[in-house]
Amino acid sequence: MSGAAMEAGRTLAMGQDEAVGGGRQSVEAPFGRALARLGKSRPDIVGLTADLGKYTDILPFRDAFPERFFNVGMAEQNLVAVAAGLARTGKVPFATTYGVFATRRAYDFVAIALAHSNLDVKIVAGLPGLTTGYGGTHQAIEDLALMRMIPGLTIIDPCDATEIEAATEAIAEHRGPVYMRLLRGSVPVVFEPGYRFEIGKARRLREGSDVGIISTGFMTERALDAADALRKLGISAGVLHVPTIKPFDAKAVTEFSASVDRIVTAENHVVVGGLASLVVETLFDAGIAKKVTRIGLPDRYIECGAVPTLQAKYGLTTEAIVAKIAALS
């Protein structure tokens, strides 16, 4: 897929900036490219969207396999129901929409039509957390909490372009329903070549003894930068990246937490019900009594505004992580 062809079919919504960026090398539409590549060897993969194909990076798949792509219009309940029907004929549907619509709007369908029957459908959800300035209607700030409660649903929150591509391949191989958060458009490359993604596995990316940052999604990029900055301040910070929210890698989290003095969680999500809650539950289960500092969105809806401004205001930046951790000691 050439960059020019991508541009022809894709614009950003309503004048907004890209959700992520910041000086790193980036890859355009890593999800769509990975899916189009997979489609060649996997004739069972079909693509769906609900009038958000342009904005969920799935157009490379549509362009490569038009007979295996269905746009159901603005109808997210139907998007999930149709995907369920396709799965029952042996297809592996990848259905895209925004996270808010896949969760708040189509919840009953995800739970009953997909998860209850363990159907092989992958929901790929754009605008996770605070990645759009379009306000509370479009910011999926509580999607991880909602989806976590659905039995049997696998939940992925990737960090960068490398991981999105690897996760797309992994969830295509995985049998069962998946909810994956999508960083769209020009997505930075954070991980070194050779980074391995495995569903259900956390990765220790930095060693450190003073503070252990447990992070998911794009917050891992910030956590890594924060760890570098903290080192210059004489604080040794480790980073554990947890891209799979469910099944949760309790063993890795427990071991990592035991190896550091303090624990900080970092997520692009409300601090209720997501990564922070999972970590606290995991530590409690393991009998580890340590104070956990939670970095994430407050328990409120976020206003409209430019993404960088909002991310700074609500503490989802490297600087905010550094400041918070520096203030702990």
Binding site: V46, E67, R68, F70, V72, G73, A75, Q77, N78, V80, A81, V82, A83, A84, G85, L86, A87, R88, T89, G90, K91, P93, D108, F109, I112, A113, H116, S117
Partner: protein, 282 residues
């Protein structure tokens, strides 16, 4: 044995006797727990008899056959009728029917897809038609000529997802998709909570080839199913006007026919009455 009779070969009398047998099974099932969605089941019995013993293409010994016609019961609480049909079709043991609704029975009061012959989890209403659209699309990708029949109800038309699915079916020109809309006029809170008329006009307006018949008239049912076989690029909607409790006067005239609960002695009375009426007719 593969079912799927060519059009014009229906033995109406035999199909009517099948419908009666389905009704008899349902009464036995309802008696077991003293309750059940018997009104709906008795009402839809004729359509299910026509589908399972004339129209649908399936192999009771190879339920996963990829070219089978699919029947999706969107109103999962009509399971009592589906269990009767699946048992008569040789997919479930007839002797298992008495376990309907009992602890640990596979024959739930609302369908789960773990029971053989069930194509979807019904019960959360408004799910069936969209899943039918997906199955029809999947069959099209596979270039299969198998068709997808989705039962739904007039009350279920109040779920907005039904119309999302209806729009997409006509957009995708799914002419192998047949919706059977059971219009029996009853809902959980009583008769016609929200007026859905004119039902047929609504489907027509959404781009469906629409038929409307007496859903308890076997000749009409067989005829309309034959009409629905045409390939004209449109999905087909068959509006079935059915009588809840059809065939059992005491239930037909009951005001609580949405969910019927009486004691065993009364069930025995109903079954005796049914056998007497049917015996006189056949």
């Amino acid at each position: 044995m593969l079912r799927n009779s060519p059009p014009g070969t229906a033995d109406i009398g035999a199909l009517e006797r099948k419908a009666t047998q389905l009704r008899r099974h349902m009464l036995t099932m309802a008696r077991g727990q003293g309750q059940g969605y018997i009104g709906q089941g008795l009402g839809i019995a004729d359509a299910l008899a026509a589908l399972y013993f004339h129209e649908l293409r399936y192999d009771p010994h190879n339920l996963d056959w990829s070219d089978r016609d699919r029947f999706l019961l969107s109103t999962g609480h009509y399971s009592i009728a589906l269990w009767a049909a699946l048992a008569e079709a040789g997919i479930l043991p007839i002797e298992e029917l008495v376990t309907y609704g009992a602890d640990n029975s596979r024959l739930e009061m609302s369908t789960l897809d773990t029971t053989p012959g069930v194509e979807m989890i019904g019960g959360s209403l408004g799910h069936g038609l969209g899943q039918g659209v997906g199955q029809a699309l999947g069959l099209r990708v596979d270039k299969s000529d198998a068709r997808v029949f989705v039962e739904l109800s007039d009350g279920e038309m109040q779920e907005g997802s039904t119309w999302e699915a209806a729009m997409s079916a006509s957009h995708f020109k799914l002419d192998g998709l047949v919706a059977l809309i059971d219009c029996n006029g009853i809902q959980a809170d009583g008769p016609v909570v929200l007026d859905m008329e004119p039902v047929a006009d609504k489907w027509r307006a959404f781009g469906w080839e629409t038929f409307e018949i007496n859903g308890n008239d076997m000749t009409a049912i067989v005829g309309v199913l034959a009409d629905a076989r045409n390939s004209n690029g449109k999905p087909k909607a068959i509006v079935l006007r059915t009588l809840p409790g059809k065939g059992v006067p005491r239930i037909e005239t009951s005001e609580k026919s949405h969910f019927f609960r009486i004691d065993v002695a009364q069930w025995d009375g109903i079954i005796a009455e049914f056998d007497k009426t049917v015996g006189a007719a056949q």
